[in-house]
């Protein structure tokens, strides 16, 4: 397994592009991913009852087992809470995108049902369909497999993100090289209840949609569902995997050796993309990893991780570089998990060292200056030992700063 410095268009047979079409004032706001051959498709979508139009469209494609040739994504407007018009706009995006692809003369006629749509940005405002239509006509002609096109695509899906989020991995499936590449966007309305953002993964692996879906669902539970920026589950969250088989590798069959290699790679990729989303969390100045160890089962340990990474009081304490471990214990206490507070250890770890704050439920007298040194780092680990079993869970969050309030106090206007 090897990390590559490549984009979403690096697996064989994939192209991408990203342009500015006019939804946003200046920054890129339209991206596409296309495959020359039909893709097996897996998707996991927001559990929010209020689903954006493109989420509904893509779920329909999944239910009907449609083969997929590409995804068109606009940023700047989520096309969520936009009523019937929103759904029509989404269908029109699919029509225009598939029409555009057909002009490029693929082997097959691509129907609107063979493409996916994603939107991200402000909710409750109709799409500017005129600029998007024109944009789609332009962008289909610019798709390429160049490094620049990969980067352009990653830029086109950003909203309040400060940096692009791209990761790619090379694995061996028997004798063949297989690439798995991903790109994501955050960075507010991020909360673990499924994907909680946009994430696109392409691969030239040969795998069925059913197995891909199974692997994706498992992976999402341990990766994207274990991150939180602000506790709000979006209307638009999705993780999409497209596999076109162009690597020429053998088909990946469940429980085979290749299956485990592929699954681990998907997991690694999702974990790294998830961490990038948190690192770029709105207003975030610190990246917090929370590990709960020695619990009696994983689900309980996950509840505890969630409570800590979503606690506003914990998050503001990290922003203030205050070793306020009591707020961590408090959050563990209301997590709903069943553990014995009198057996818990809490430790902070960073590049500056580590410090034990709670030892078997008893507060430890600690050196405040040393604690501050540890908390001054940008990446901090919180390690909780429950002395209550052998299961553990990990999750990732960020601190809560003035800037989060600033960004979200006037995001729409």
């Amino acid at each position: 397994m090897e990390w590559l410095n490549n984009g979403i268009n690096s697996p064989k047979g994939f192209k991408s592009a990203g342009i500015h079409c006019g939804v946003k004032r200046k920054r890129k706001d339209l991206s596409i991913i296309v495959s020359k051959s039909p893709c097996q498709y897996a998707g996991v979508y927001t559990k929010n009852l209020v689903k954006a139009a493109p989420v509904i469209w893509n779920m329909e494609r999944l239910n009907k087992n449609d083969l997929i040739f590409g995804v068109v994504i606009n940023s700047g407007n989520a096309n969520a809470c936009t009523g019937e018009k929103g759904y029509k706009d989404c269908v029109n995006m699919a029509i225009q995108f598939s029409d555009g692809l057909n002009e490029l003369k693929y082997n097959t006629i691509i129907k609107k049902e063979n493409v996916l749509v994603a939107s991200t940005g402000v909710i409750g405002i109709p799409l500017k369909m005129n600029v998007i239509s024109e944009g789609i006509n332009t962008i289909v002609k610019t798709a390429s497999s160049s490094k620049k096109s990969g980067l352009d695509a990653a830029e086109g899906i950003m909203t309040t993100d400060k940096f692009t989020k791209v990761k790619a991995l090379k694995i061996k499936i028997k004798d063949k090289e297989v690439i798995i590449a991903g790109m994501s966007k955050g960075s507010g309305m991020i909360h673990p209840n499924m994907g909680t953002m946009l994430s696109f993964i392409t691969t030239d692996a040969n795998i069925s949609s059913e197995l891909l879906t199974e692997i994706l669902k498992e992976s999402v539970n341990d990766t994207y569902n274990m991150i939180s920026v602000d506790g709000d589950t979006s209307t638009n969250d999705m993780v999409i995997v497209l596999a076109n088989g162009e690597s020429g590798s053998c088909e990946i069959i469940k429980n085979s050796e290749e299956y485990y290699v592929f699954k681990e790679a998907i997991n690694k990729l999702n974990e790294e993309l998830g961490k990038l989303i948190v690192k770029d969390g709105e207003g975030a100045t610190k990246f917090i990893e929370v590990q709960v160890n020695e619990m009696n089962n994983v689900e309980e340990a996950k509840k505890m991780v969630h409570a800590v990474i979503t606690s506003n009081l914990v998050k503001t304490a990290f922003f203030g570089e205050d070793a306020n471990w009591g707020r961590i214990l408090c959050a563990l206490g209301y997590s709903g998990a069943d553990f014995d507070p009198s057996k818990v250890d809490i430790k902070y770890v960073s590049a500056s060292g580590e410090i034990l704050l709670l030892d078997q439920g008893q507060p430890v007298k600690f050196d405040e200056d040393y604690a501050l040194e540890i908390l001054k780092q940008e990446e901090i680990k919180v390690i909780v030992n429950c002395n209550h079993g052998n299961s553990s869970a990990k999750g990732w969050g960020c601190d809560f700063s003035y800037d989060y309030v600033k960004i979200n106090g006037d995001y729409r206007t």
Copy 2:
């Protein structure tokens, strides 16, 4: 039913006091409530698995049906997450308080089990028992039924609160006047999962501990459990009611006419105290009432209210005076309640007027200037009609400002 401008010591037979003893630098930090005759006692406590020492002490008193003569409360330190020493300190507070009361020559010998203890403030740090012990010796001698002593007691329980929270009601139980008085403190770590703060209620009504407990539990569900400042459920939350029967009224029996009068009064008092806590929420600049109407059942409607009042994105939008109704619909969507988004209406109401933003799931074109006028007010109502039944629920929250981050970024140090 008549509101009185009186304190916690206004029901017959109650006295109170509040002083500065030295836990905090300057502000009052120690309060007591005492009754000349034994009280029936009801209490509802935090559901956080991590319970502060005084919570454990008071729950033991409840389980053992102890009669209660008073409560001693310190602020500035929550005596939570303080290990075994914390519990011993709490028991010592009870011993010193009961000893002090005995010196005042009551008719009965008051044992430590006849008093309650409460603490609020920073967690994880041992109590300064020397200053608290001295303080208790002093304060027991100063308790009185004067207006000033009532106010002093309300001041002594404050932490980051900016104003005292006191309410009193007069009702008639048959021919007798009965007073119910309450005082509370907020103002961070406030989240609906039981009492979520300290609240003390005294009454000279004649009522059994069992019935008082039943009434209190029901009331807490509709009042304190429907407020949120920051989504964090504290380790120290408690609502305590003490009833000493000194009004000379007949005993309040379940389902009698008097029962309903008394119950309604307790509810009103709790609702008003809950609202005061939210209005004084850490960093709050706006008070938000959320009403969900026309749902198919109350529990579902409550879930929806909770999701809206706890959403950081909704809260920052109110801080920014941005009519971002999409975030409200998004929060309703992930609340877990089952409703039809395409039938929902959303309306904002304030002293400046009202504005419909979503009509049967369809966005309404609205005048942004008029919306801003409505949002400029300090008190705003969000009204959600689900067109999905006849049940409704109400809850109260506040906005999320820079100051919340500031206050909690350096609360401990």
